[in-house]
C-alpha cells in the first residue's frame, strides 16, 4: 500500500516537472475564425513560421467571425487573454484599446518599419493618435461581381464593364431561361453588395462622404438615390432561393452553371479555385465601373496586454512571423487573399487576385469598407435597413434612404 502511494507521489512529482518544463515553451494561443479549407491552409503557413522561430502554436479556431471575436473579448475581459486574436480591419478594436486591454505595438512597428511595408489605408485603420494597435494580416477586395463564362458565351455577351452591360447580360440570361443573378441573402453580404453598388454607381466622392464622414446629406442626395435604384433593379433579378442563402451556396450556383452572376469579395475566388475552375476560361471576375476603385477590407491581429513575460515573448515571435514578407505572401496565396506586404512576389497569383492586388496597392483606386470606418452599432443599423430594402415587400426606396441616414448616427 505504502509503496503504491510512494509510486503515485513520484509519478505526480515527475508530471509536475514535465508540466513546468512545458511551461517554459513559448506558447502562443491564437483565436481566429479561419476554418474553411483555404483558410486553414493559410493558418498552417503562419503556424509553421511561428514554430520555426521557436514557438508552440496553440490553435483556437472558432467558426464564425462574431463568435470568435466575442470569445476573444470575453477572454480578455475575464483576465485570461490569448496571445493574439483576429478581428476585422477597422473600428472594432477601439474600445478594447480605450480600456487599456491591448498591447501598444508602436515600438515593434517602428523597428520593423511597418509604415513602408504595408498600404497606408490598411495600416492607418489600426492607428490611434500615432500609436499602432493592430497588425494587418490579410486584404480583400469586396465589390467584385462573378460570372459563369460558359453562360456568358452562350448568351453572346462579353465580360460586363458598366452597369448597362450587367443589365443587358441579366436580361439575356433571363430570356434564355437561366437564373440571372444568385446573390447571397445573408444581411452582411447584402450590405457588402449595397456598398459595391454605391461605389460603382454614385461614385467615389459620394461613397467616401457616406463611409468616411457619415454624411447624411450625401445619403439623401441624387447620386445615392441613383445607386439605390440600381440596387433595387439588381434585387429584382435575384432568384427565389436568395433569402438567407450563404455565399458559398450562392457561388456554387454560378460554379455549377445554374446561375449567371453572383456578388462577393475576392474570397469567392477561393471557392472557384477549390472547384477546379480557371479564371478567364470557366469564370470571370469584374469590378463594374472600375474607375471608381475597389472597396478594401481585411483582417488584423490584435495583441492583448500580456499577462507575463512568457506571453510578451510569444507575442514578439508572433509579430515577427506575421510581418515576415515570404510568410505573409505564402499565407495569402494559400488563403486566396491579397498579399499585403510590399515586395511580395505576385507571380503565383491567380489573375483575379493579381488584378485585385493592383487596385489594393494604389491609393487612388482603393477605399475603405464600411466596417473599417463605422462602429459596429452603425454597421448593424445600416445593415438592418439594407436587408429590409433587399427583401421584396420590405422598405420602399424613400423609406430605406431615411432609415440608412438615421442609422449613421446609431450608438
Amino acid at each position: 500500500m505504502i509503496s503504491r502511494l510512494l509510486l503515485a507521489a513520484t509519478t505526480a512529482t515527475a508530471l509536475c516537472f514535465a508540466a513546468s518544463a512545458n511551461a517554459q515553451e513559448i506558447k502562443g494561443e491564437v483565436i481566429h475564425q479561419w476554418t474553411s479549407a483555404a483558410e486553414s491552409a493559410g493558418v498552417k503557413v503562419l503556424a509553421q513560421k511561428f514554430t520555426e522561430l521557436g514557438g508552440t502554436w496553440v490553435d483556437n479556431a472558432i467558426s464564425g467571425g462574431p463568435n470568435a471575436r466575442s470569445t476573444a473579448v470575453n477572454r480578455v475581459v475575464g483576465g485570461n487573454p490569448p496571445a493574439a486574436m483576429l478581428f476585422n480591419t477597422g473600428a472594432q478594436f477601439v474600445e478594447l484599446q480605450d480600456n487599456g486591454l491591448l498591447r501598444d505595438l508602436t515600438e515593434t512597428a517602428k523597428a520593423d518599419n511597418w509604415q513602408n511595408k504595408m498600404p497606408a489605408a490598411l495600416l492607418n485603420s489600426g492607428v490611434v493618435d500615432g500609436e499602432y494597435w493592430a497588425l494587418p494580416i490579410s486584404g480583400n477586395g469586396a465589390n467584385w461581381f462573378w460570372f459563369n463564362k460558359s453562360i456568358l458565351d452562350k448568351i453572346g455577351v462579353a465580360k460586363p464593364k458598366t452597369w448597362d452591360d450587367v443589365f443587358v447580360a441579366l436580361d439575356k440570361a433571363k430570356a434564355a431561361g437561366i437564373a440571372p443573378f444568385a446573390p447571397s441573402g445573408e444581411p452582411r453580404w447584402q450590405r457588402l453588395m449595397f456598398n459595391a453598388v454605391v461605389l460603382g454607381v454614385a461614385g467615389r466622392d459620394t461613397y467616401d462622404a457616406v463611409i468616411y464622414k457619415r454624411d447624411a446629406s450625401a445619403v439623401r442626395g441624387e447620386k445615392f438615390k441613383a445607386a439605390v435604384k440600381v440596387f433595387e433593379k439588381l434585387r429584382d433579378f435575384a432568384d427565389a432561393g436568395t433569402p438567407g442563402r450563404s455565399w458559398p451556396d450562392s457561388t456554387n450556383l454560378v460554379i455549377s452553371g445554374k446561375a449567371l452572376m453572383t456578388q462577393g469579395g475576392t474570397w469567392l475566388n477561393g471557392a472557384f479555385a477549390a472547384a477546379g475552375k480557371t479564371a478567364g476560361t470557366d469564370y470571370e471576375c469584374a469590378l463594374i465601373n472600375p474607375d471608381q476603385g475597389m472597396v478594401i477590407s481585411g483582417d488584423v491581429f490584435l495583441f492583448p496586454e500580456p499577462k507575463n513575460a512568457a506571453m510578451t515573448k510569444a507575442q514578439d515571435l508572433l509579430l515577427k512571423a506575421f510581418a515576415d514578407v515570404p510568410t505573409q505572401t505564402a499565407f495569402a496565396v494559400a488563403n486566396g487573399t491579397i498579399p499585403i506586404l510590399k515586395g511580395a512576389d505576385t507571380s503565383k497569383l491567380n489573375p483575379c487576385i493579381a488584378e485585385a492586388s493592383r487596385f489594393f496597392n494604389d491609393p487612388k483606386l482603393s477605399t475603405g469598407s464600411d466596417q473599417m470606418m463605422f462602429t459596429p452599432a452603425i454597421v448593424g443599423a445600416v445593415e438592418d435597413a439594407i436587408t429590409r430594402f433587399a427583401t421584396k415587400g420590405g422598405l420602399t426606396a424613400e423609406q430605406f434612404i431615411e432609415a440608412y441616414a438615421k442609422g449613421l448616427s446609431a450608438s
Binding site: S70, V73, P187, T242, P243, G244, P376, R388, T391
Partner: protein
C-alpha cells in the same frame, strides 16, 4: 451503529444546499440585477457605468427590429402552444387506448425532440427551399406549377418556423401528457363507458381537467421554448427574409456581441424578463390560490 436524529439530518440538508443557494443568489439573481443596471448605462462593447436614464429603452422601442421581434414572439405563443398541445394530446390519447406497437410509435413521436433545434431548422430549411425542396420534388412528379415559397416570403416565413417548432415539440408534449393519462383511474374510464359519454366530451370535460398538472407542465415547457426561441430561427432563416422572422433572443444576442451594444441588449433582455414576469406572476398566484382553496 448510531442513528442520526432528524434535526441533524435537516441541518445536513441545509448545509448541503448552502453552495447552491449561494450560486443561485450571486450568479442568477446577481447577474439579472447587474444586467438591469447595465440597461440604464451607455455601455457599448464593454460594460461601463455612465448613467443614461431611459435612453436605451427609448432607442429599443423605436427600433423596427425589436417591434417585429416582439410581434413574432406573440404570434408564436398564440399559435405554437395551443396547436402543439392539441397534437400532443391527440397522440397521447391515441396511444393510451392501447394501440399495437406502442413503444415503436412513442419512439417515432418523440424522435424529433431528440434532435437539436439547429438540426431541426436545417432539415426544414432544406425541405422548404423553393428551388430544391419539396416544391422541386412535386415539380419532378409532373406537378409543373408546384411552388411553395413560404420560407422566402416575408409575410409567411414566420409560419414555417412555427411549423418546425410544432413538429419538434409535439412528441415531448405527448410524453408528458401520456404520463398524466396513465395516472387516470381505471374506474373513471369504466364509468365513462357505462354512462355512454361520447369520447370527445369525456376527454374535454373529464379527462383533461383531471390531468391538469401534466398540462401545466407541458405549458411551462412550451412557454420556455417560446421565450428562448433562437436556434431554430438562426438555422432556418437567420431572422430573414429581411427582418421578418426576428425574435427577441436573436435581437439580444446580435446586439450584445456582434454589434457591441451591451446597453441596448440589456434593455431588451430586461424588457423580456418583465414580460415573462407579467405573464408568470399572475399564473403562479392563481395556482397557489387554487392549492390553498383545495386544502
Amino acid at each position: 451503529m448510531f442513528v442520526r436524529s432528524p434535526s441533524s439530518s435537516r441541518l445536513q440538508a441545509a448545509l448541503t444546499l448552502v453552495p447552491v443557494a449561494f450560486v443561485v443568489l450571486s450568479v442568477y439573481v446577481g447577474g439579472v440585477l447587474w444586467a438591469v443596471g447595465i440597461s440604464f448605462t451607455r455601455s457599448s462593447m464593454l460594460p461601463n457605468y455612465r448613467f443614461a436614464g431611459f435612453t436605451q429603452y427609448i432607442n429599443l422601442f423605436s427600433n423596427a427590429r425589436w417591434q417585429v421581434s416582439l410581434g413574432n414572439m406573440a404570434l408564436f405563443a398564440v399559435i405554437f402552444i395551443p396547436v402543439t398541445l392539441l397534437i400532443g394530446y391527440s397522440m397521447a390519447a391515441m396511444i393510451n387506448r392501447g394501440v399495437r406497437g406502442e413503444n415503436a410509435l412513442r419512439t417515432i413521436y418523440l424522435y424529433p425532440f431528440a434532435m437539436s433545434f439547429i438540426v431541426t431548422g436545417l432539415v426544414w430549411r432544406w425541405l422548404l427551399d423553393p428551388n430544391f425542396g419539396i416544391a422541386d420534388v412535386a415539380r419532378k412528379l409532373s406537378f409543373e406549377n408546384a411552388s411553395f415559397d413560404w420560407i422566402v416570403n416575408a409575410d409567411m416565413a414566420i409560419f414555417t418556423i412555427i411549423i418546425a417548432a410544432i413538429w419538434h415539440s409535439s412528441g415531448l408534449v405527448m410524453v408528458v401528457l401520456l404520463a398524466g393519462l396513465r395516472g387516470v383511474d381505471e374506474d373513471l374510464w369504466k364509468a365513462i363507458r357505462i354512462e355512454g359519454i361520447p369520447a370527445w366530451k369525456a376527454h374535454l370535460y373529464i379527462i383533461m381537467p383531471s390531468i391538469g398538472a401534466s398540462i401545466a407542465t407541458a405549458m411551462v415547457l412550451m412557454s420556455l421554448t417560446v421565450v428562448r426561441m433562437f436556434d431554430v430561427v438562426v438555422a432556418m432563416t437567420g431572422g430573414g427574409p429581411g427582418i421578418a422572422t426576428d425574435v427577441p433572443a436573436k435581437f439580444i444576442i446580435d446586439h450584445m456581441f456582434e454589434r457591441q451594444q451591451v446597453g441596448l441588449a440589456s434593455a431588451a433582455a430586461t424588457t423580456l424578463l418583465l414580460l415573462v414576469l407579467v405573464i408568470a406572476v399572475p399564473l403562479l398566484y392563481l395556482k397557489n390560490r387554487r392549492k390553498g382553496a383545495a386544502q
